[in-house]
């Protein structure tokens, strides 16, 4: 670091603010009244955002690519030296901005949403802790600091999913999320360990500088990348570890927006993008990622078609979108993935917050079949939601269009088949999003017991900001096709080594865009016909007609399969170990030694009959035996 910008050394303030918030709201949770906790938390996260923005500009103005800020030595054992350090570069600054920005908005939103909950202070404490962890994750200068954040967000997610802890199902969901994450984490930590053994360091800069000189396809690197991928799969809810995410909707809606849409679940994408150099060396892993990402994208989208819980739909949509990001990663288009991550953060947060607003208005009702006609009653929510829906569906010029199109075109470059499948997924996404939109906002209200009303300002304000971002976020990275300069991508590419170099011809690209747009339009129309024209459809929607749709409705029975294949056998194994091995073999084996000895003892005691003649005989017999013994020996 030639000219370390003195401002950058202040970067520790970024996570410090939320940590402070956590400590304040956590310690004083019994003293804080009304919205005090929310306000404190929001202000601190906002400060963190401001600090991030400040860092962003400081970094740009300094002209440096990256800066490392070492706070103290965390672990040093022999040649293992892990400083507690932050790496400030374009990628991390971007992530920081997303995390703190979206985070601040959601905090503000939560003030309204959580108003009246008796554990609101705990809520904000946990949210702040989450923000802190997430910032550690994105700012960490080595894999282990990243891992701290990685586990930390998992833990906060556990807390927040189970926030309403009176409901056992919620607790179960929380635990499931944590455990599934942990499965991934094990892979991750093993990956980190192998990384260390390979590169003698876990610092990003050290590892990557050495990795540049390595050959592609080195088995060790492939193994490392696969292990890291396992971690990412767990955290970013890809097949086969995705099932926790839909269940995680048990948490309060702002939590879903912040953790399970905008930030935490994208940690996997961030981590892989961060490790782009390594992944470039491992084509096998890349291919695995393509397959996983695409499969997840389509699979989740299909499940999303038949979900009736508003948050579940959004959850599957999140899984699906994460699948796209993985696809992009697998294609080597890391910056595209991060770009999609960014736009997704905007519009998915918006969708969730909108959903929260709706649920809030509906008095806690989450079944979309019971909603309807909210367009008039909640105009702000409607318009923001619409914007987000358009964005996620990929309608130009909304942000989702740019980011998704980038991925699709990259897929086409790789293999047209990939493109077709990805496009199919996008169409399905479009369909279920519009189904959601239509069912919720159009038609007439189907549930008469509640009287929906627009949410308070404190909730609509973040919606508006986010909708602006969702609409215009795409302009950050206008591709050259539209006369842009892909600034976002370029910006990131200072931190990420892209895996692909070739560009599509603009003609092909235009063709692709046009055809996809036509298809999208058709899908929207079709959805309109089904869900708006026919008012009775929603009722029929709940009745499964054939095996396939029934399977979709039941999420392809994945949970059931997992339960049958993993959970139950595990339980049986536990019972077997305890009831059979421990209690029937090991423990008795020890006891049996005692019992056997004691039985033998009784036998010996029986010899002592008290009968004189027996004693005499025994003595003579003993003597005789000894005589014979010495005569023979």
């Amino acid at each position: 670091m030639v000219a370390l910008n003195s401002y950058i050394t202040l970067s520790w303030l970024v996570p410090a603010f939320p940590l402070l918030g956590f400590l304040i709201t956590g310690m004083a949770k019994n003293r804080l009244k009304n919205n005090q906790a929310g306000i404190i938390a929001s202000i601190l996260v906002s400060l963190s955002f401001l600090m991030s923005a400040f860092l962003f500009f400081a970094l740009r103005s300094s002209g440096q690519e990256s800066a490392t800020v070492t706070l103290f030595n965390w672990i040093a054992a022999g040649d293992l030296k892990i400083p507690f350090a932050f790496l400030i570069d374009n990628l991390s600054v971007t992530m920081m901005l997303i995390v703190t920005g979206v985070g601040a908005l959601i905090h503000i939103y939560s003030i309204g949403y959580m108003h009246g909950d008796d554990r609101v202070n705990s809520f904000f404490a946990q949210m702040n802790l989450f923000t802190f962890s997430m910032l550690l994750l994105v700012m960490g200068a080595n894999y282990l600091i990243l891992f701290i954040g990685w586990e930390g967000v998992g833990f906060c997610s556990y807390l927040l999913i189970g926030f309403w802890f009176k409901n056992p199902a919620f607790n179960y969901a929380a635990r499931k999320a944590f455990v599934m994450n942990r499965i991934g984490d094990l892979g991750f930590i093993l990956g980190i360990i192998l990384l260390f053994f390979t590169f003698k360091s876990v610092g990003f800069t050290e590892v990557f500088s050495q990795a540049t000189s390595m050959h592609s396809g080195t088995p060790l690197v492939t193994l490392i990348t696969i292990l890291l991928l396992v971690g990412a799969v767990g955290k970013s809810a890809q097949i086969p570890l995705y099932t926790w995410l839909p269940d995680a909707m048990a948490g309060p809606t702002p939590v879903s927006a912040l953790i399970h849409a905008a930030t935490m679940v994208t940690a996997g994408i961030y981590m892989i993008a961060r490790s782009s150099i390594l992944y470039n060396l491992a084509p096998l892993t890349m291919n695995i990622m393509i397959i996983l990402g695409l499969a997840t994208a389509i699979f989740a989208a299909v499940i999303g078609l038949r979900q009736n819980d508003i948050k579940k739909v959004l959850a599957y949509s999140t899984v699906s979108q994460l699948g796209y990001m993985f696809l992009a990663l697998g294609l080597g288009a890391y910056s595209s993935a991060v770009f999609h991550l960014t736009t997704h953060a905007f519009f998915k947060a918006l969708l969730f917050l909108g959903a929260g607003s709706i649920i809030h208005a509906m008095g806690g009702e989450q079944d979309i079949r019971k909603m309807g006609g909210l367009r008039k009653k909640m105009p702000v929510t409607y318009f923001t939601f619409l914007a987000a829906t358009l964005a996620i569906s990929g309608i130009p010029p909304f942000s989702g269009f740019f980011s998704k199109d980038l991925i699709l075109s990259k897929a086409f470059e790789n293999n047209p088949l990939l493109y077709i499948l990805a496009l199919g997924g996008a169409l399905i996404t479009c369909f279920y999003m519009f189904r959601l939109l239509y069912l919720v906002f159009f038609g007439s209200q189907r549930l008469s017991t509640v009287h929906p009303h627009e949410s308070p300002r404190v909730m609509t304000f973040p919606l508006i900001i986010l909708s602006i971002l969702s609409v215009f976020g795409g302009f950050l990275n206008i591709p050259s096709l539209f006369g842009g300069d892909s600034r976002f991508g370029e910006f990131l590419n200072k931190s990420i080594i892209s895996g692909i170099t070739e560009e599509l011809g603009s003609a092909t690209e235009i063709g692709l865009i046009v055809s996809s747009l036509i298809l999208l339009g058709l899908v929207i129309l079709y959805a309109y016909r089904i869900y708006v024209k026919k008012a009775d459809i929603p009722v029929a929607d709940g009745v499964s007609t054939n095996i396939f749709s029934k399977a979709i409705e039941n999420k392809f029975y994945v949970d059931e399969i997992y339960s049958a294949v993993i959970e139950k056998p595990f339980g049986s194994l536990s019972d077997f170990f305890f009831n059979k091995v421990e209690n029937k073999v090991l423990d008795p084996a020890v006891d049996e030694v005692g019992i056997l000895t004691s039985k033998l003892g009784n036998l010996v005691r029986k010899l002592q009959q008290g009968n004189m003649s027996f004693y005499l005989f025994a003595m003579v017999a003993g003597i005789l035996l000894f005589i014979i013994f010495i005569l023979i020996v």
């Binding site: 005989f617 017999a621 005789l624 005569l631």
Partner: protein, 163 residues
């Protein structure tokens, strides 16, 4: 002379067996006395006159009288049928037999026993024994008085009827 040996031996063995197998305690005592008398004969054969005399005094004179006395005292003079079970008795006989054979086998594979001193026929007389007893074996002799005291105390203690 050897005939005398066999004669005495035969008497001894027969009487000994009779002691074991006869049922009446009085008869047992009588057989035992005969057996011991025969043994005294052996002692004389072995030039151990002193022992022969002591033997007759101690065993026949004292111990066997003691036996008789106790039998009378306890009123056991009639044949009491106190028999062990047949199995026990048979196994007793077998054990005795086996023991005999084993010992015989062990001592038969014998070796040359070298006599320690040249043959002398007079050391078994009272004077010979007496010399040794009161020189070399004085200590044991004195010490054995303790044994007698204890035995006496014991017999008194057990025999006396406490009030």
């Amino acid at each position: 002379m050897i005939l005398l040996f066999y004669l005495l031996s035969a008497i001894m063995i027969i009487c000994a067996l009779a002691v074991v197998f006869s049922k009446n305690p009085i008869n047992n005592v009588i057989y035992l006395i005969v057996c011991f008398l025969a043994m005294a004969g052996h002692y004389i054969l072995l030039n151990a006159q002193f022992l022969a005399v002591v033997h007759i005094i101690v065993y026949t004179g004292a111990i066997m009288v003691l036996f008789l006395f106790v039998i009378m005292l306890l009123n056991l003079n009639k044949a009491i049928i106190l028999r062990k079970s047949t199995v026990t008795r048979v196994s007793a006989v077998i054990t005795g037999g086996v023991f005999f054979l084993v010992l015989l086998a062990a001592t038969r594979q014998t070796f040359e026993i070298h006599a320690r001193y040249p043959f002398a026929s007079d050391f078994g007389l009272v004077s010979g024994i007496g010399k040794v007893l009161f020189s070399e074996f004085l200590l044991p002799f004195e010490i054995s008085s303790i044994l007698f005291i204890s035995a006496m105390v014991g017999a008194l203690m057990f025999g006396k009827k406490d009030v």
